[in-house]
Amino acid sequence: MKSELSRNGTNHYENVACPFCGILCDDLDIGPSGDGLKVLKNGCSKSVAGFERPLSEPKPQVDGKDVSLDEAINAAARLIKESRLPIFGGLGTDVDGVRAAIALAEKGGGVVDHALSEAQYRNFRVLQNSGWVLTTLTEARNRADLFIVAGSEIHKLHPRFFERVVCNEASMFSDNPAKRTVVFLGEGLDQSAVSGKRIGEVVTIPAKADRIAEILDAMRAMNKGGKISGDTIAGLPRGVIEDLLARCKAASYGVIIWAPPSLSFANADLTVQAISEFVKEINLTSRFAGLSLGGNDGATSAGAVCSWQSGYPLRISFASGKPDYDPERYSATKLLAAKEADLLLWLSSFSNEIAPPETDATLIFLGAPGIKSPRTPKVYIPIGTPGVDHAGTMVRVDNVVSLPLRRLRESKLPSAANVLEKIEAAL
């Protein structure tokens, strides 16, 4: 990581990894600008918003009043100790932050969950039920000749995904790679980023999001030689679906992309399962893979670390001392709504949207300055952002690659891990 160059007497960083969405682009150039940082190369709306968030270093607070860090830590520890069932939620942090949150949850006898786990569970349920065939970003970038975007608003979640994985001109396997077909399976999906020399046909199939599963199931049945009656499938002319199946079968390496956060309708895990079962089926004769995106705000890191340390992907309770897993019961949202939990420790250091939820439970908020709580927390401890204020590591959305994050500026903000470890020690 010796790409730190001195330019005009200040630090200029190359090959910086960006923690502000799940695909963790690591080709950014970042330099100083006034008191803050500026994305100089390979930025996007999310990285600009994140890296260029002005540095502020507010004091920790208890009941809205400034206190020292130690006082805030002691207050937090006392509240956790007194709590009947604390939730350690949000978890918008890096690997070390999640490690420390789990250790604290164990000792404090609480529940562990991530702010975006409702979306993650659209995938986890499928993994725990039937599994899948998946690919990763570099593999898709070089190999795919067909991309199908299934009902997901990818460009909004990952502003550089198409640029880096779909529209890239070079391919490892040919100096003159074939043009790619991109199918948007869904209504009104943003196609604006799909352009350039590599892109051949762009096909739009305006399926309703909650009927995509029917299309995949029908294609799977047809691929097995089954007959589908009727002129329409999921409200679309059957010829359109037959054509899509023919494209899938003809592809040398097809990739179907979905982003669980976009599939926000009831039982969307069944859509992920339909996609996955279709991909398995078509792999009996040709190659095809799924690519699940999302994983913003540290969701992938939280799921991975929690799985390797406890065995389970989030939604566990350590109330009995053992990791007790129940993805229905230990959803932080549900526990708060049912008033089963009386304390919420909310951790968020990336996007401003991951703010603490409205709740009556006692709130301890560890947040990067700029992330607002809807009400004054009982305890507020400002923390740094991994990859900006301190070094760290995060797991990319494909659950294969992880990337080192760097400290880019002088900041007094402590890391979440540091604060959580101190709270644990004070328990």
Binding site: A103, G311, P323, V401
Partner: protein
């Protein structure tokens, strides 16, 4: 502080010590020969106890993406074995794919002080090391996977200068912080991405035009010339295929005398005799291993019960997925680098095939003569969880027990195996070789796996119980770096183990080809692909031990 273990029976094969009664002295984490007048700070009376170096598992899937996929996938397996935190130890789950901290505890409780992750993908190395960092107490290390990664295949197909290939191997070992190199279904993981469904040893990869044999010989020779101590760790072609033993024999022949390690050889020793066209070919495999001193192997013993197979071999795991129990599985194509397949599996003693797999593994143990070239593994968790080791040791040491177990399995399986005719019983000395001295020597761990002066004081003390399963399940004492960690099978102190790596030299010019390769094709920059030492040390949570390599030849 000088510690004395008094009166134990020492089994230290690396130093030729076979059950002699001797005292052992420990100071500052090392085994020492103290001044006769030195003051003993603490004495452990271990008269009549069996003393060995800490166990070393040279092939156990303990860290990396595929294990965490397996963990996420199998809550129903964890739920039978959940463990609460204590003031000393963290909570977690056990059985087939234990959580990381618990993995370390259970190894230590079983008298082991090191385990090596054998299938670390370069692209996943950072996560593998993070998981190993969270694996308590034991030392660890990892073998980095090469041979289906596109950079290497491009080099090989492009007939690049051999020294550049060696530079790339060495660079990858540095970048991934590895101690050895493994090849999995050589070229086959890549071929599967091009829709090839099998790749025999001499069959050409449809895109690169190279064969698995080319890949094996290139990597094996490369490692030898780089001075890497552990030979190429080979998960061969045709894993689990009836008749696959012929490929294994051809692989041994095709190695041209180069040092090779054939891993989980049990899965590669299947014949095609009988009504079900599935039989043991352990005898010819053992004969070939016995005759070829350049070959070492580990068994990958199958044990009955639920487990989860997790492998880099996406091509074969896709086929195995038909037998997934429960019916769920994952196959992945990964980063122009590798692949993986995670398929839960239940080995049943009443199943003809599973019972025969069990018998074949035992036959291999009993027919291969030289324990220095044969290591005790279940290929955790592929053949079964590592917690089966004490049972497996009893099967090897106790013919009567083995006979009893044979009565329980599918009787037809024994017709296609020579197991019932084998009378060999392993000695404690041989067990110490297979579980300590042999792996340490093979991996090049210079001060591990033995009890000589200067060795790291990783020491296990067992009660000499004739029930060898009970004996090896619950060691009386375990010292790690001279500190008492386990007493009567229970953890009394938790420490962080070290990470062992090897660093063969390479010419920096390889970076000139790699940097643009990453920029043009990858989604990660070369500088970020590499794992810095500080990431493992992580403020003192971890530590690195750089094991020696030999001089590089050319």
């Amino acid at each position: 502080m000088l510690i004395k273990l008094t009166g134990g029976k020492i089994y230290d094969p690396a130093n030729g010590v076979d059950g002699e009664v001797r005292d052992i002295f420990i100071e500052n984490g090392r085994i020492v020969s103290p001044d006769p007048n030195a003051k003993i700070a603490h004495e452990y009376a271990v008269h009549g106890k069996v003393i060995m170096a800490g166990g070393i598992d040279p092939h156990s899937h303990i860290g990396g993406g595929k294990m965490t996929i397996a963990r996420m996938m199998l809550p129903e397996d964890h739920m039978h074995d959940t463990v609460a935190r204590t003031d000393l130890t963290r909570a977690g789950v056990g059985h087939a794919v234990p959580s990381t901290m618990l993995t370390g505890y259970r190894y230590a409780e079983m008298g082991y002080t090191a385990a090596f992750e054998p299938a670390m993908l370069p692209a996943n190395a950072r996560q593998a090391h993070m998981e190993m960092a969270d694996t308590s107490i034991i030392d660890k290390g990892a073998f980095v996977m090469l041979g289906s990664d596109d950079f290497f295949l491009r080099q090989l197909a492009g007939k690049k200068d051999f020294s550049a290939i060696k530079d790339y191997i060495a660079w990858t070992m540095h970048a991934a912080q590895a101690i050895a190199v493994k090849v999995v279904n050589p070229g086959g993981i890549s071929a599967f991405k091009f829709n090839q469904r099998k790749l025999d040893l001499n069959e050409k990869h449809v895109y690169y035009g190279v064969t698995p044999r080319d890949i094996i010989v290139t990597l094996a020779r490369g490692l030898k010339e780089l001075g890497v101590v552990h030979p190429l760790h080979i998960h061969g072609c045709n894993l689990g295929v009836p008749g696959g033993y012929e490929t294994t024999l051809e692989t041994i022949k095709g190695a041209e005398g180069l040092p090779i390690h054939l891993t989980h050889i049990q899965f590669h020793s299947y014949g095609t005799e009988g009504d079900l066209k599935f039989s043991s070919a352990a005898a010819p495999i053992a004969e070939a291993v016995n005759a070829n001193k350049n070959v070492s192997c580990d068994v990958g013993q199958v044990m009955f019960g639920q487990t989860c197979t997790a492998s880099g071999d996406s091509m074969r795991q896709f086929v195995t997925s038909r037998s997934a129990t429960p019916k769920k599985w994952v196959v992945m194509d990964i980063e122009c680098d590798a692949g993986c397949g995670v398929v839960p599996f239940k080995y049943r003693d009443k199943s003809f095939v599973n019972a025969l797999q069990w018998a074949i593994g035992l036959e291999l143990f009993l027919l291969i003569n030289d324990p220095w070239r044969l290591f005790l593994t279940t290929d955790h968790p592929n053949g079964g969880p590592f917690t089966w080791y004490p049972h497996l040791i009893r099967l090897l040491m106790d013919k009567a027990f083995r006979n009893d177990m044979m009565q329980k399995i599918n009787p037809d399986a024994l017709k296609y195996s020579t197991l019932a005719s084998l009378d060999r019983e392993y000695t404690l000395y041989e067990i110490a070789i297979m579980t300590r001295a042999g792996p340490a020597r093979s991996l090049g761990l210079k001060d591990r796996g033995h009890l000589g002066i200067g060795a790291c004081a990783d020491i296990t003390v067992y009660d000499d119980n004739p029930d060898r399963e009970a004996m090896f399940t619950t060691p009386e004492l375990l010292f790690k770096n001279g500190e008492l960690i386990v007493r009567n099978g229970k953890i009394i102190k938790v420490v962080n183990g070290a990470t062992h790596v090897a660093r063969p030299s390479y010419d920096q010019s390889i970076v000139k080809s790699l940097k643009p390769y990453f920029e043009d094709y990858h989604t990660v920059r070369m500088d970020n692909f590499r794992l810095a030492d500080d990431e493992i040390i992580n403020g003192g949570r971890g530590s690195l031990i750089i094991q020696p390599t030999g001089a590089r030849a050319a």
